[in-house]
């Protein structure tokens, strides 16, 4: 039996090719994901472990929770504390660490690191073991800095050059006093690191005389835990917490592997989709192979093979196919893993180096996935093969594909689909959290229902295409009839394509709708021409607003200043604005009272009003972070959004209570409105600062759009694999059909159908199947997109469904292109068939 099965595999090499390819792609996706994530996870962990070489015990401030009317605060790590730590028995030295955001511009004024990866720090003393110098000397005073070697290389800076930097607004132009190397993970990942001398760093980062962390080195012979114990004894436990270097490295490693594993899981979901699509092809192939071999299998039964043996022979075949595809997929996956890393590298996303990690787990998973998926998908065809009666061996004609009635199937499918639609619809009426679950269940039910129903749906939908096909004469007519000839096969083939397109369309509808609503939210309430913020959305120094306010052509400006307070025993964030200007800069809908900010009069958003039971005229007391209290009056209630929400009060009231005022954004209105010249003037006023973004409404929209485009493109790329597998499925089905219908095609050629018409016939059949899958997929995708939107809409007042007709047309065309491409090879084969052998074939 085993030998028969293997012979069959070898005999049907060509026919199994597409199946092998389909499984291989899925396995390659899985193993590529595993190799890639394992490799970079390993590299990151190694590089981050090195980063803690210089730390035996880290001392960090213990955050004090807010209580009563007291705003929580972070205790300061002072010089005194550092000296105390350095004097502890077993301590060799103590280093004060100061960190913050520092943007570095290259020689063209462009940011070198990414928005989020531009870091700054302090160089401790004259020789900091954390940062070995390659050239130059330690920075001294506020006019000298060190930059990391990678950044220096990228931006072309050398010792002695002047660099443009920004920490929280103003542009600094210090000299590069030296260049250092570092194992810092952020730098390894493509960011920049700029070091100042400690006093400068403290001043720039707003931490005068204090440190973010104190790193203590142990003297020779003292263990990390012993040192930690000593420090715990000596330092005030309430204010600081101590952690050993080993623990820090372990925690970081854990964090890295956690983030990698979520990346891995995300990728594996898409790999799973590709594999799922692959199962349709496998099942189709084996169904066709079994049908073609009916007589052979019946003969086996006639000479005494049991049903189980017949099933097993099909499964052994599947095993062989799966094993071959698994091995090939694993090899391809290793290639993908390696290629992906260098590809990302070439895009500028540098990653720490490390060896390619191919763990035994990866190998086992890849092979197991390949074999199991194939055998699972071949299970049903195998069962069907076993049901072939021995007498079928005697009948002279091919046993027809069992034209078993579709009644049971259609009933079942309708039930599933109806239940699915009902649950999804019910889900749209639930609140966001419980609705999500319902929607997921409903979506799965509906998709299963549609799978089961596709054979039924194929007839009317393909009949709808008949008028178009008629234009292609007899080729079109034959193509249409061929495509509904075996509804199950057509359905399985189209379903494979449907899955990919459902997801792609659903994502596109959702992303498009979300983008529009976020866009609306961001711009609708803003009357300002420009919004100025830090590249990393970090705090801006109040100086920025002052500069903007005095710039040419600025008619109104207001910062959005951060403040924390306690109100009725709860922590509440306040936003300080320029009371006189805010009305001109925003266009918030007022639902109660009036939009007046000034003195003790504040405005609050609806959520706050509801939580605290406020309305226009209510009074409340806010306790600021310096401990002082202030009585405030609610002048009005407005409709908040993502950008502006909470309690807005005048800076004249808020700022005196802040030790270190910082703005999240500055809104600016100019006399000329939003035009290029005004923007240039504002940028100049800020000293052409690489760290600060001046954006008009269009820029903000573009930025939002960019985020969504990036996300969508990634999803498209990942789902592309599922579509490619589906294309293989169409090729597979067509090739099989051409093979099965060789005799017919031979006859058609003999009675005068020329090669072109034969090709056209196959191509049109392919087109019909692909477009059928496309229409189903796009339809389902729109439905899911709509349903998910209904759910999201409950959370977003500006949500509205946006149907991307352009994109949908593109997807449909894509399905058509898939059809034409998939038909290339089968159509050629059909046209090249030798008429004489084809006619005689029996």
């Amino acid at each position: 039996m085993f030998r028969t099965a293997l012979r069959n595999v070898l005999a049907h090499k060509a026919r199994l090719l597409m199946t092998v390819l389909a499984v291989m792609l899925g396995v390659a996706f899985v193993s590529g994901t595993l190799v890639f994530t394992n490799t970079i996870s390993d590299a990151y962990q190694k590089s981050s472990a090195k980063g803690f070489d210089q730390v035996d015990v880290a001392v960090r401030p213990e955050y004090q929770d807010s209580h009563g009317d007291q705003v929580g605060r972070t205790p300061e790590l002072t010089r005194a504390l550092l000296d105390q730590a350095a004097r502890v028995p077993g301590a060799a030295s103590a280093t004060g660490v100061v960190t913050g955001f520092t943007a570095v511009a290259d020689k063209n004024g462009k940011l070198v690191g990414g928005d989020w990866q531009s870091a700054g720090g302090n160089y401790w003393g004259t020789e900091d073991p954390r940062y070995p110098l390659v050239s130059g000397h330690a920075p001294h005073g506020k006019d000298e800095v060190l930059i990391d070697s990678a950044t220096a290389k990228r931006a072309g800076y050398r010792v002695g050059d002047t660099v443009r930097l920004s920490v929280d607004g103003p542009v600094l132009t210090p000299t590069v006093s030296g260049i250092f190397t570092t194992d810092d993970g952020n730098v390894a990942a493509g960011g920049s690191l700029t070091l100042f001398d400690t006093a400068t760093a403290q001043a720039l980062f707003g931490k005068k005389g204090t440190y973010d962390e104190i790193d203590v080195r142990a003297a020779a012979g003292t263990s990390q835990t012993a040192l930690k114990a000593e420090l715990d004894k000596a330092l005030p436990a309430k204010l600081v917490e101590t952690t050993t270097g080993k623990r820090l490295a372990d925690d970081q490693a854990k964090a890295i592997s956690a983030s990698m594993s979520s990346l891995k899981q995300g990728l594996l979901v898409f790999a799973g989709i590709a594999l799922f699509v692959g199962t349709f092809i496998i099942a189709n192939t084996f169904t066709m192979l079994v049908a073609q071999r009916t007589r052979e299998l019946a003969l086996l039964r006639a000479v005494g093979a049991s049903r189980r043996q017949v099933t097993r022979s099909v499964l052994i075949e599947a095993f062989a196919v799966g094993a071959v595809a698994g091995v090939a997929g694993l090899a391809a996956g290793v290639g993908i893993g390696a290629g992906l890393r260098s590809l990302l590298g070439s895009f500028g996303a540098s990653m720490p180096d490390g060896p390619l990690v191919i763990s035994p787990g990866t190998v086992v998973t890849a092979l197991a996935v390949g074999v199991l998926i194939t055998m699972l998908a071949a299970w049903l065809p195998g069962r069907r093969a076993a049901k072939i009666p021995p007498v079928a061996a005697m009948s002279s004609v091919h046993a027809k594909a069992t034209a078993k009635s579709l009644v049971l199937r259609n009933t079942l499918g309708s039930l599933f689909a109806a239940a699915g639609v009902a649950v999804v619809l019910a889900g749209t009426r639930m609140d966001a959290d419980s609705g999500q679950g319902a929607m997921g269940v409903g979506a799965v039910l509906l998709i299963i229902g549609v799978f089961i129903l596709t054979p039924l749906l194929s007839r009317p939908l393909i009949a709808a295409a008949a008028p178009v096909l008629r234009a292609f004469g007899v080729s079109g007519k034959l193509a249409r009839q061929n495509s509904v000839r075996n509804p199950r096969r057509t359905a399985a083939t189209a379903s494979a394509l449907m899955i990919g397109l459902t997801l792609i369309t659903g994502m596109t509808v959702m992303a498009g709708s979300l983008q529009t609503s976020i866009d609306k939210m961001a711009s609708a309430a803003i009357r300002a021409d420009y919004v100025v913020s830090m590249a990393n959305r970090g705090p801006l120094s109040p100086g920025v607003e002052k500069k903007l306010a005095s710039a040419d052509g600025v008619t109104a400006s207001s910062p959005l200043r951060n403040g924390e307070s306690r109100i009725d025993g709860e922590t509440e964030f306040l936003t300080g604005v320029d009371g006189a200007a805010i009305g001109k800069l925003t266009d918030l809908k007022v639902t109660d009272g009036s939009f007046t900010v000034g003195g003790t009069r504040v405005v609050v958003d609806e959520d706050r009003a509801k939580d605290f039971g406020w309305k226009a005229g209510s009074r409340f007391t806010a306790h600021f972070e310096d401990g002082k209290a202030q009585r405030l009056t609610v002048a009005g209630v407005y409709e908040g959004n993502d950008m502006l929400n909470g309690i807005l009060l005048d800076n004249k009231v808020l700022t005196p209570h802040l030790s270190d005022p910082a703005d999240m954004q500055v809104m600016v209105k100019t006399a000329d409105g939003a035009d290029g010249a005004a923007k240039d003037r504002l940028e100049k006023a800020l000293g052409s600062n690489p760290a600060i973004k001046v954006q008009d409404k269009q820029d903000i929209s573009d930025e939002i759009a960019q985020t969504f485009t990036l996300m969508l493109n990634m999803v498209y790329g990942l789902l592309g694999m599922a579509v490619i597998v589906a294309v293989l499925g169409v090729v597979n089905t067509l090739a099989m059909s051409v093979f099965e219908r060789a005799q017919e095609i031979g006859m058609l050629r003999a009675i005068g159908l020329d090669r072109r018409a034969v090709k056209r016939m196959v191509r049109l059949e392919s087109l019909v199947i692909s477009l059928f899958g496309g229409v189903l997929g796009i339809g389902l995708g729109v439905f899911f997109g709509w349903a998910a939107g209904e759910l999201l809409g409950t959370k977003m007042p500006t949500y509205e469904l946006v149907l991307p007709y352009g994109r949908m047309t593109v997807f449909l065309l894509l399905a058509g292109v898939v059809g034409v491409l998939a038909a290339l090879w089968p159509a050629r084969r059909a046209a090249r068939l030798n008429m004489l052998t084809a006619i005689k074939a029996e």
């Binding site: 027809k400 007899v474 061929n482 000839r485 003999a750 009675i751 005068g752 020329d754 090669r755």
Partner: protein, 256 residues
Amino acid sequence: MTTTPTAGRTTAVAARATELSKIYGQGETRVVALDRVSVDFQAAEFTAIMGPSGSGKSTLMHCVAGLDTFSSGSVRIGETELGSLKDKQLTKLRRDKIGFIFQAFNLLPTLTALENITLPMDIAGRKPDKAWLDRVIEMVGLSGRLGHRPSQLSGGQQQRVAVARALASRPEIIFGDEPTGNLDSRSGAEVLGFLRNSVRELGQTVVMVTHDPVAAAYADRVIFLADGRIVDEMYGPTADSVLDLMKRFDAKGRTS
């Protein structure tokens, strides 16, 4: 051979092979399937080609019908020389001038009987001649079954559809490759009767390959092939005379 009603038929020879050779392979594996065969197929005549397996009878038919290429010599259908034609022109020639009846019926299962019959015209993009079509359909006795699909028809009925398909487009010549090979004797006799009637009544030209002396007896003329050559021919054959001749060849073949 009463009338020649089809317009444009200017010669009495519907198809002609001259010095036709077909050679497979080279050197040691060289096989001569047809060895300089010259034969005329008269218009409005029913010709049967006979011979033992491997004699080249099917090859001769395939070459003359434009289904297969030949190594040397020439083939004419009407006034057209096949040797110089490209695949596209050959296809058009088959479509417009030749009808085929195959052993395995070769109907399209997705089409109804009527659609199968008009298929060659559909391919050519021509409207069938209604009166002619009705006459053909009536002749083969399919009037009540035009809406049926091949799977709903018996073997004999299916082959009658195939005969009607070959006749419907009024080709200059119809080739049959063992048209009764898959039929029981009664259905076979029916089909042969139709073919003979089409020659007698419609003036059709029919060439049929067969190994069955009874089938050959329906023809006006039988030509015998052996080893790629025409070895004999007979006019007005009967089953017995054909069988006698075949026995003689058989004996010769065994003694040589």
